[in-house]
Each structure stands twice: as C-alpha cells, then as structure tokens.
Amino acid sequence: MASNDLLTVQHLSTTFETPAGSVKAVDDVSLSLKAGSTMGLVGESGSGKTVLSRSIMRLITAGGATTTGSVLYRGEELLTKSSKEMQALWGAEMAMVFQDPMTSLNPVVRIGRQMIEHVQHHLGLSKADAVDAAVSLLRSAQIPEAEARLQAYPHELSGGMRQRVCIAIALACGPNMLFADEPTTALDVTVQHQILNLLAEQQRERNMTMILVTHDLGVVAGRTDEIAVMYAGRIVEKAPTDTLFASMRHPYTEALLRAIPKIDDPKQTKLSAIIGRPPDLINPPSGCAFSPRCPYVQPKCREEAPTLTPGESAGHEFACWNPVGSPEAEQAWQQNLEGGLLQTLAAAGKATATEEGATPVPVAANEAAQ
C-alpha cells in the first residue's frame, strides 16, 4: 500500500442471504485511491457498483448481509469499527450523494434543517453559524435565492435543484472522501451535465477524493483519473482513464463503449446493445461471468474464471483469457463468427440486438449455435 493512498480496499466481498440463496453482490474486489483522485466505477445495473460503494462506507443496512475483506481509510480498518465510530466518520469525513434526489431528501423536513443538522452535530456550530454555512454552500452549488430555499420543502424544488441540495448536504462538513452513486441517473440530460460539472468543480476546489458510480462510460470519460469496470460483483478491468479509452482489453468494457451512440455515426445506425442480461448472482455461470454474453467466448472461459492481471501499461489490469486486441481474441472472434454465435454476430453488426436478442440467451442455446 502506497503511503499516499487515502483508501485501500482489499479482497472486499459482500454477500446477501436471501430466501432464494446467497447472493455475492461484491466478489473479492481490491482497489486503492490516492488522496485527491477520482475513480469512476462503471457497470450495468446489478453489477454491484452501488453495493461496493456502500460496503466501503459500511452503509449496507439490509439484514443478512456480510462484508468480508479489508477497507483501510487513512490506514484505519473500517470494517471492524463500531457503528458509533462510523457515525463520527459519516458525513464528516466521508459522504455520499445518492442516485435519486426525489427520495433521498426527507419530504417533511425543510431543506434548511436537512442542511444544518449534521453540521451542528459534527462541527458543533451554533444554529446561526450553520445556517450561514448552508447559505454559502447553496450559493456555491449555484442555487439562486439561497436564503429562501432554506425554508422550502423538497417537493418545492426541481429534481436538479434537489440534487444540488444533496450535493451541498454531502459537502457541508468538508468530507475528504465523496461517493457519488449515480448522481445524475434520475435527472434529465441537460441537468446531468450541470450536476456533473458541479461535482467535478467541488472535487477540484476541495481536493476531495471521489468515487463516481455510473452505468455511463461517457459520464466518467472526462471527469475521472481512473476507471474500474464492474461485472457481476467483480472488477473486470481497471486502468487510468486515458489508457482505458485508448486500449481497453476487456470485452465487456468494449461492449459498454460500443453501446454509446456516437455523434458522427450515420443516421440510420442501429444502437448497439449488449446481448443478454447480467448474470443471476445466486447461480452465477461457471467460469467467467461474462462468458454467456461475450463475443470472444471460448470453452476455457466457461470453465475457469480469469483473475485480474496487470497489462503492459502502468496501472492497467484486466481479467480476461482473450483480451481485446490479442491474437487469441482475433482467433476467437473469427471462430465464433463462423460458428454463427449470436452475440458475436450482433457485435459484428450482422445481427441486431433486437428485443428477442436482448432477452437472456441460455448457455445451452449458445452451445447449439456453435
């Protein structure tokens, strides 16, 4: 562990016991963040990115959840801290901005109280001082008529305004670590940009360390130092942002990127979707979890799960037997294309991921297709 790492996560796993069986929502994840850096955590819904960020923050509230491994924050182990010790960190040292600003503010409590209560609690400010601090925070979050907003109830604000308020609340005690859990998913596109810019701006100004969780690679492209791509509870590829976009190696990352429509695509270009669905985490597929949807899939992928291994460039790691751009991948692609494997055809643009194609493709059907 480098000494300037603010956060070091090692072999973190979170398992939920459900009546249907145990779900490994986060599976042996390791990562570290330097103070002041920003990491993008990317994956589809259900890939475990939200559970991962909540596990790091110890905010998993559901019964029957167990988290194992290690989370070192400033060299201190968080997983063994008492809930009282965590309460002292939450809001003050590490804060979270949630996905849905419609539901993450208390509907029956005025904005003002929601902005000052934790400031009073953590920093011991008087009410008047806390109110002053709240007003200047709202201003820095570009909320007009800040004083008047303090008297408002959440339903009196628009979604974008509410998310600004949530960000202001998260920043109120000057945390060093911020988790932004899909902060713009519930907002419309024009507002998304403003919110992301606000976050980036505040992160720079305060030299905060930030984990930005999103399903949208486009969101993290210009705003993060590093990106970790999650699939089925595991990190499948991790690299500095530039490296990842320049030379992604995991087929899933490639598929995610292909799913972003490009402005210079011809007009009639069909949107490329990733065929199939994220795997069932109660009965995960054997071998690589992405194998049922991977266009480069080979028999070995279904037998043995690849582990995260370093690539050529510094800080680049990926977990794949046939990484994108390798001769093995080239060969696998050709073979699958000739065999008429649905996901490869779709990826090659020879079959579209239609409604039918987007429904789960059972492994048996893939086998038959081969």
Binding site: Q87, A88, S104, L105, Y153
Partner: protein
C-alpha cells in the same frame, strides 16, 4: 387554503344534517311510547292525560315536522328538555357531563400515545428481534383484555392492595388537580390500554415502511445518530395512519366510556346516555347522540387539516 376550508365546512354541514336526521329517526322509531315513559303507570290508565302529554311533546306531528322543529331549536343551542327530569334542559346535562368524559378521553389518548410511540418506534427499530417481540406481545395482551378487566385489576392493585387511590367517585378538576388525578388516573389508564395497543401497532408498521426509505439511509450517511433519525426524521412521516385512528378513536371514546364510567361511578356523558336509554328519555338520547356525532365530525375535520401540518406535500392540493 381558504377554498379547502370552505369545502371542508360545506361537507361538515352536510354531514351534520345527515347525522342529526338519522339519529332523530332512530330515536323516533324506538318502540314504546315516550308519553307513557313520562307519565309512568299513572299515564297508562289515563287516556286523556296521555293525549295531552303527546300533544305537548309534539309526538303527534309527522317525523319530518318534528325533526325540523327540533333542528330549529337545536341550532340555537336548545336541545329540548328531559322527559323524565322535567325542566332540566338537555344542553345543561351535556354541559355538566362533557368535561368529565372529555377529560377521560383526552387523558386516555395522551397516556396511550406516551406509551405507544416509544413502543412502536422501538418495535420498528428492532424489527423481529426481542424488543420487538416483547412489545408486540405486550400490545397483543393489552388489546385482548377488555378495559373493564384492566379497570378491575387497577382497582385491586391501587385501591384494595396498596390503598393509594380511591376505588370510585370523581373529583372535578375545579376541586384541585391532584384530587382530580387521584380519581381520573385509573379509569383513564384502563381506557388507554386498548388505544395504546392499536397506536403502537400502527406506529410500528408505518415506521418499518419509513425506515426503508432512501432519505433514512441518506440521514444515516450524514452521521446522524439512530435516535435522531428515528425521532426527528422517521417519526413524522410515520404518523399519518396514527392521526386518522386517533381522530376516530377519540370520538368513539366520548361515547364509549360507559363501562368504565359505570365501574368507577363517574358522572360522565356515557353514564347519562345509558340511563336515558333505559328510561326511554328520547330528548336526552337524541341530544347526547347528536352532540357526540358533532364532536366526531369536527375532530375528523381537524385531523384532515392536521395532515397538512404533518406532511407539507398535502398542503398544495
């Protein structure tokens, strides 16, 4: 807001018409001749006197006419006179008795809330663990024991065994708060137990739902203590069903304290109502019924308006 109040008021008036007419109709349709009740044995033998009394009480008019006459006087506060205790206005009876019953009902509700809110919150916070199981069991017992049994138990404990409190009678509030409390605390507690059980169940289930909300997790992520989150964030949005039931049960308590009033020999409204029914004293029955109904409707209107105070989102509509 003015328009909301206006529609509420209109609805209130319409409800009051329906309530007064129906209760008038019911008492008018009661079998037996009120004139006989008034005159007693003497009247049965004296046909002439009977006719005279019927004429005097207006019993010969058709029901709608009697209702309109009664209503005309009722809106001026004149609810008629008792048939049995001639010359005693019904309004005066109510005026004398309502402070007693209202005090019992209010005390019962307060005691119930004081016990129920912590129990319900605790049950939700420790859902399915032993404090929840224990408080659920306590509520279940309180709910299944009729209030007069609780009353008898309290008398046995505090009056007979410990000799701390008088077993019966009533000291009016005007005679001193302590003396009043000595006579009111046991009946109020007996009435409160059932309410407590209902309230705590409601708070618990609403609270369990509220604790699933994102804003509760968000409050936790701010580092607020569990206690603060429960009481300052989760309790208010969890109290809407409680308020509804509170209004309904308060109205029900006003008319439903009869058994406890009888047990503790308390000169309340319910006690008087039962008396009037057995004496077929129609004017008193009518007056008390309408009074309780009016209070009921008014309280529920107040509760409706209180929703807006508890949940600002309702204020808009």
């Amino acid at each position: 807001m003015a328009r909301v109040l206006g529609t509420r008021l209109l609805r209130l008036v319409a409800t009051l018409f329906a309530v007064t007419f129906l209760s008038f109709l019911m008492t008018a349709l009661l079998p037996g001749d009120p004139a006989v009740a008034v005159l007693g044995v003497e009247g049965v033998q004296n046909e002439e006197l009977l006719l005279e009394v019927r004429e005097e009480l207006g019993l010969n008019d058709p029901i709608p006419v009697r209702y309109v006459n009664w209503l005309g006087r009722a809106v001026t506060g004149d609810l008629g006179e008792s048939y049995i205790n001639r010359g005693v206005p019904v309004a005066q009876t109510i005026q004398e008795r309502i402070p007693v019953t209202a005090q019992l009902a209010v005390m019962a509700i307060i005691i119930a809330l004081v016990l129920a809110i912590p129990l319900g919150v605790l049950g939700a916070y420790k859902e399915s663990r032993w404090p929840d199981t224990a408080s659920s069991a306590f509520a279940q017992i309180a709910l299944s024991v009729p209030n007069f049994i609780t009353g008898i138990f309290l008398i046995w404990l505090f009056s007979v065994t410990l000799r701390w409190l008088p077993a019966s009678n009533w000291n009016r509030l005007g005679n001193g708060v302590v003396d009043n409390l000595k006579t009111s605390i046991m009946p109020a507690t007996a009435l409160a137990m059932t309410q407590m059980a209902i309230f705590s169940r409601l708070v618990r289930s609403d609270m369990i739902a509220t604790l699933q909300e994102n804003f509760v997790l968000a409050a936790k992520a701010k580092g607020l203590t569990d206690r603060f989150i429960l009481l300052r964030h989760a309790l208010r949005p969890s109290s809407l069903s409680l308020m509804t039931i509170l209004g309904i049960n308060f109205g029900a308590l006003l008319g439903g304290t009869v058994v406890i009033e009888t047990l503790f020999a308390i000169p309340g409204l319910g006690f008087r109502l039962i008396n009037a029914i057995s004496q077929r004293d129609i004017m008193v029955i009518q007056g008390i019924t309408v009074f309780i109904a009016v209070v009921y409707v008014v309280i529920n209107t107040v509760v409706d308006l209180l929703y807006a105070a508890v949940d600002p989102r309702i204020r808009r509509s």
